[in-house]
């Protein structure tokens, strides 16, 4: 037994992320149910994946062996970890080596955050993007002169606290570009844990049950004591209060309004008809008037192909006006039609997630985790 288990290796979500970012070939055997895999799976340009439910492998793994290449590493994946270990052990018993299981399963994959340096700021500060690769969420941290601001924090707040501590920065502000519907915000929790101020657009906060600072156009939030400024730009469309920020005159944080390969969906509060016009105005008037050289940093990515060098998700605004399909439809009536005809399936539990982000319900950690299972589905063109 020990000879067998000694060959079985765990792969952490972090190691898997680095393999995907480095485009190292990896073969994944996903042993969850077919419907779960169809709904949400690990993606990467160097990833090949087959799905055989674990209960089809209880009598033996021959069906899997036929499909698994001997020449590359094989990662067995399931929801939590148990079944993948069970199957991986049998693959090793059948004589395979180079077999891994995903530590913590898709649960861990959904929660992993990979910090990526986006750039240095003019006064010596820096801007980091946190890529939640398993779910497509992007958070940001501005660090300057020992202070930090975090934008669109996800609920794994420890990651932000540890990172800020490593950089010797005190978290002073947490901001949400809008009331999120696809993931539970960590902004308020993080503010509570660190004594920071929590900012939210007031138009998205009409039903919230907690105190917050109002993100309104014209406000300037300083991080550090000199030149980094966060300038909210009121940019409705995805939600009525959606706000964008320009950081250091160079980076445009678009929230869920504009993505690299898509645009935000306007229907997650049940008001697609009302908000699609706002979305049009924001994209084609407000954003169009900004400098083409701004680097767009969205709150989500839809496809793994949107990840660039080192994992960063970003694009020049001018380039998006040339290539992003959502920015090529200049006639408003056509735009309305395109958006309303291309709305994807709703994200998992999006109504409960909105209620949680408003403070109306308080699910425990395990319930929050389950509410967030699956991809983010915030973009119009995804799926």
């Amino acid at each position: 037994m020990s000879a067998i288990t000694s060959q079985l290796q765990a792969m952490t979500a972090g190691e898997l992320t680095r393999r995907i970012l480095n485009q190292e070939p990896l073969f994944i055997l996903d042993v969850r149910n077919g419907s779960d895999v169809a709904d949400w799976q690990i993606e990467g340009e160097s990833i090949e994946l087959v799905n055989i439910p674990y209960f089809d492998l209880l009598d033996g793994v021959d069906a899997a062996l036929e499909q698994l290449p001997e020449s590359s590493d094989v990662l067995v994946v399931c929801a939590k970890e148990g079944s993948s270990k069970f199957v991986a052990e049998q693959l090793i018993e059948a004589g395979r080596s180079r077999v891994y299981y995903l530590e913590g399963g898709m649960k861990a994959w959904s929660e992993h955050l990979e910090p990526v340096l986006i750039g240095q700021l003019h006064d010596g500060g820096s801007l980091y993007q946190f890529v939640r690769i398993g779910k497509g969420c992007l958070s940001y941290m501005v660090i300057s002169q020992g202070e930090a601001a975090i934008i669109d924090a996800v609920r794994m707040t420890d990651v932000f606290m540890n990172f800020a501590a490593e950089k010797g920065a005190a978290i002073k502000h947490t901001l949400d570009t809008h009331l999120h519907a696809d993931h539970i915000s960590g902004g308020r929790k993080l503010a509570k844990q660190t004594g920071a101020m929590y900012w939210l657009p007031p138009k998205d906060a009409e039903e919230v049950t907690f105190d917050y600072a109002k993100l309104e156009e014209g406000n300037i939030i300083s991080v550090g004591n000199t030149t980094i400024e966060i300038q909210p730009i009121y940019s409705p469309g995805h939600t009525i209060g959606s706000t964008s920020f320009i950081i250091d005159n160079r980076y445009l944080l678009t929230g869920d309004i504009l993505f690299v390969e898509s645009i935000g969906r306007p229907d997650l509060a049940g008001k697609a008809e009302d908000w699609v016009g706002d979305l049009y105005t924001t994209l084609y008037n407000r954003y169009k008037a900004l400098s083409d050289d701004l680097i767009v940093l969205p709150a989500h990515f839809g496809k793994v192909t949107e990840l660039g060098m080192g994992g960063a998700v970003s694009a020049r605004l001018g380039d998006l006006f040339k290539h992003n399909p959502g920015l090529q439809i200049t006639v408003e009536a056509d735009f309305r039609r395109m958006v309303s005809e291309n709305l994807p399936q709703h994200p998992n539990a999006y109504q409960e997630i909105r209620q949680t982000n408003m403070g109306k319900i308080q699910p425990d950690d395990e319930q929050q985790r389950e509410m967030e299972i699956g991809p983010n589905r915030c973009a119009v063109h995804d799926k």
Binding site: N33, G82, F86
Partner: protein
């Protein structure tokens, strides 16, 4: 409904509820009924898919206070 066999998997995590259920089902005759009790949340989804895949019949399932009960008829 009377079951011919009871399988208790309380406290066990995936994949053990299905592993034990399969072993028990293998020992039954066609037409006989097995009752499985599980505390693993994922087992609801898994039992439905497993029974469908293996052409047996999920006669009934219920959940009470975090305890899942399944009645499976062997075909």
């Amino acid at each position: 409904m009377e079951s011919n066999k009871k399988v208790d998997t309380t406290g066990l995590m995936c994949p053990m509820p299905i592993v034990k259920a399969k072993k028990a089902l293998d020992e039954l005759q066609p037409g006989e009924i097995m009752e499985v009790v599980s505390t693993d949340k994922g087992s609801l989804n898994d039992f439905q898919a497993w029974v469908k895949q293996t052409n047996h019949e999920l006669l009934k399932h219920s959940e009470k206070d975090g305890i899942y009960t399944f009645l499976v008829k062997k075909n």
